[in-house]
Every structure is written in C-alpha cells, then in structure tokens.
C-alpha cells in the first residue's frame, strides 16, 4: 500500500515529553492528522498515573523523559506482566540518534524511533508503518516486545537516500548521529535473519 491513510480519531494518544513546547508541537501535528484524544505528560510519574487510570492506544515518548529516560520507561512497561498497557505501541522520539541509542531503543521494546526535530511527514509515516505492519510480540527470558526480526518493505511515503555519517566523533562511544533512514534500517536490522546485520 503506497500511501495508506491513518485514522487517529478516538484513539487515545499519550505524548510524554519534558519539553512543553515540543509537546505542543507534537499535539498540534497529531490533531492535524485527525487525532482528538491527545494526552500530555512531562515526566514518568505522571505517565504512570495516566497509564494506571486508563487504557492508552499508543505512547509517543521522548528518550530523555525524566527521571530515568524513555528507554528505561519502555523496558519497565514491557517487562511488567501485570500492566495491561504492556503491548501498546511505543514510538520513541529521540534527538540522540547515535547508533547505540537506537539499538538500545529497539532492544528495550520500542516499536520504532523517530528522530527529533520531527517533521509531520516523518511522524505520519511511522504511525502508518506501525498501523499497517503488525508484528508479533516475543516473550523470552531477556526480552519482551515487538519482534525485532522484521523487514521494512518501504514506508508509505517512501524512504529517501541514506545520508553519509557525520565526520565528528565525540568522545569514546557516542559515534555519529544517524539519519532517520539509518534509524529505520537499524529497526529492520534482522531483515536477513541476523540480529544486527
């Protein structure tokens, strides 16, 4: 399906971001997409209060959500077998697009990562991808989350060329930031059946 339409009406969308202005932007973008039930929280405690009080259909969470960050939060949601929101789609928003962060997000159980700053297009296409490419959940001793072995046939709006990595290397591990295409490819790393191919 080339450009599927995503119907967000009546879906409960939770936006978790410490940056109030970024929350407004994300909220505005989602409402432009047709969403009419967008909730916002600025930190993890508020997020769990919301999750304990109602069913959420999708979580959009910043990787820097205080106090422990979106990766830890994702892991916590996925690993709590008593949590009825355990299998909700989790879309992580990250300004840190280093390869290790993206791999950690995938291994924490995130469905996908969208790079900040976001554009409406990048968000829409990834929401569409989550909706139209259902993945089974895997429950093992060390991982609970969407199957990490999957193949991206192409995003609804098409995926552009891969940009070259930046030349700047900061400190020992951080490495270059990844372009959104590279992030997407890391989520499809096992397209040939290899965990980090």
């Amino acid at each position: 399906m080339k450009n599927p339409t995503v119907n967000l009406r009546d879906l409960v969308i939770l936006v978790a971001d410490p940056n109030a202005y970024a929350r407004r932007i994300t909220n505005g973008i989602l409402r432009g997409f047709g969403a009419n039930k967008v909730l916002e929280v600025e930190q993890t405690l508020s997020l769990f209060q919301v999750l304990s009080g109602q069913k959420i259909d999708i979580l959009l969470c910043d990787t820097r959500l205080p106090p422990h960050g979106g990766l830890m939060l994702t892991r916590t949601i996925r690993r709590n077998s008593n949590n009825e929101n355990r299998t909700i789609p989790i879309l992580l928003m990250s300004s840190d697009t280093g390869e290790s962060t993206i791999k950690n997000a995938r291994d924490a159980g995130a469905n996908i990562v969208v790079a900040k700053p976001m554009s409406p297009k990048s968000l829409y296409d990834r929401l569409a991808w989550i909706a139209f490419n259902p993945r089974p959940f895997i429950d093992t001793a060390t991982y609970f989350g969407p199957d990490r072995r999957f193949k991206i046939e192409g995003y609804p709006g098409g995926v552009g060329r891969r940009k070259g990595d930046k030349q700047v290397e900061v400190a020992e591990e951080v490495g270059p930031g990844l372009a959104q295409d590279d992030i997407d490819n890391l989520f499809s790393a096992a397209r040939k059946g290899q965990p980090d191919a």
Partner: protein
C-alpha cells in the same frame, strides 16, 4: 521478568487497538493530514520567537552556572537539557540553523559529561552562533547555506570534545 534459563520463548499477536482503529476507513488522507499538521505548526509560530528568547535565556543562565561549577553533572545536565530543547523544536519551526548549533553544543556538553575539559570559548562561540541564528536574516537559513560557520563550529566541537586518556586505568 524472571531470569529463568528455562523461560520458554512465546510468540504471539497482541490485540492491538491502535492497529485496528488506525486502519479504519474515514481517516484524514495523508497529504491533507500533512497539510493540516503544517497549519497547526504555523499557528504555533506566532509565539515561537518569545519561547525561543526565554529558552535562550534559560540556556545562558544554565551555562553561566556551569562556568562556576565546570564538570558538575547537575549543571551540565541542566545546560544540556536546555540546549536539547532548542535542538528539538528549532528545525520543526523552520529554524534549521538553531537546531544545527544547538546539536553541536549538545555534543560538546555530552563530551564534558564523560570527561572532556570545560572550554568557555567553545561554549561562548556557540551561544553567539545561537544568538545569530535566531535573528531575522538567519532564521530561515539552512546550515548548508553558511558552510564557513557550520564547518567552523564542527571543528570547534571536534577539538574540545576530546576526552583525555585516564592514566589511572
């Protein structure tokens, strides 16, 4: 999650309301949705300049405190957070250069977190660049259009982000 070597691997499809509902007929078509979203962003632009000024002030305050406590993690975190806020929304609101400079400064602060020495000149030149990037002549300029500035800032970032080897290891 139990740390049990005998934990069986289970593969299942969870009932996912998002997938079911999002695939219903009647949604806003993609092109229209993108147009609507952009319209919402345009509405927000009316107070973006004010937010940008406030966030810049917050960043300057945080960096000023950091100057008095170089290497202290809470001050580094506060400065990083403020800088990341600028990075995260700049380009979405059409201020690509703000995002570029903020990203570069975030990388420098990141390096300081893991041991790179505090460098006031490097920070000051990024703050100056941010002040410039938010002015009218530069706010709609992309990094590609000012290669001298961007390559210079990248070079500064490279030079000050070197973490000295730990001789005790």
């Amino acid at each position: 999650m139990p740390n049990d070597a005998k934990h069986e691997v289970t593969v299942f499809y969870a009932d996912n309301r998002f997938e079911r509902m999002a695939r219903r007929q009647g949604g806003v078509a993609r092109e229209q949705a993108l147009e609507n979203a952009q319209a919402h962003i345009e509405e927000l632009k009316s107070d973006f300049a004010e937010w940008l000024n406030q966030e810049m002030q917050e960043l300057r305050n945080a960096l000023s405190q950091l100057e008095g406590h170089p290497g202290d993690m809470p001050y580094l975190d506060r400065a990083y957070q403020s800088c990341a806020h600028l990075h995260d929304v700049g380009a979405t609101m059409g201020f690509e250069l703000v995002t570029f400079v903020a990203n570069n400064l975030c990388e420098i602060l990141d390096a300081m977190k893991i041991g790179a020495p505090y460098d006031k000149d490097a920070i000051d030149c990024h703050v100056d660049a941010l002040m410039l990037a938010k002015t009218e002549p530069y706010r709609h300029v992309s990094p590609d259009q000012v290669p001298e500035m961007t390559s210079g800032l990248r070079r500064v970032g490279e030079l000050v982000s070197i973490v000295p080897a730990d001789d005790n290891k």
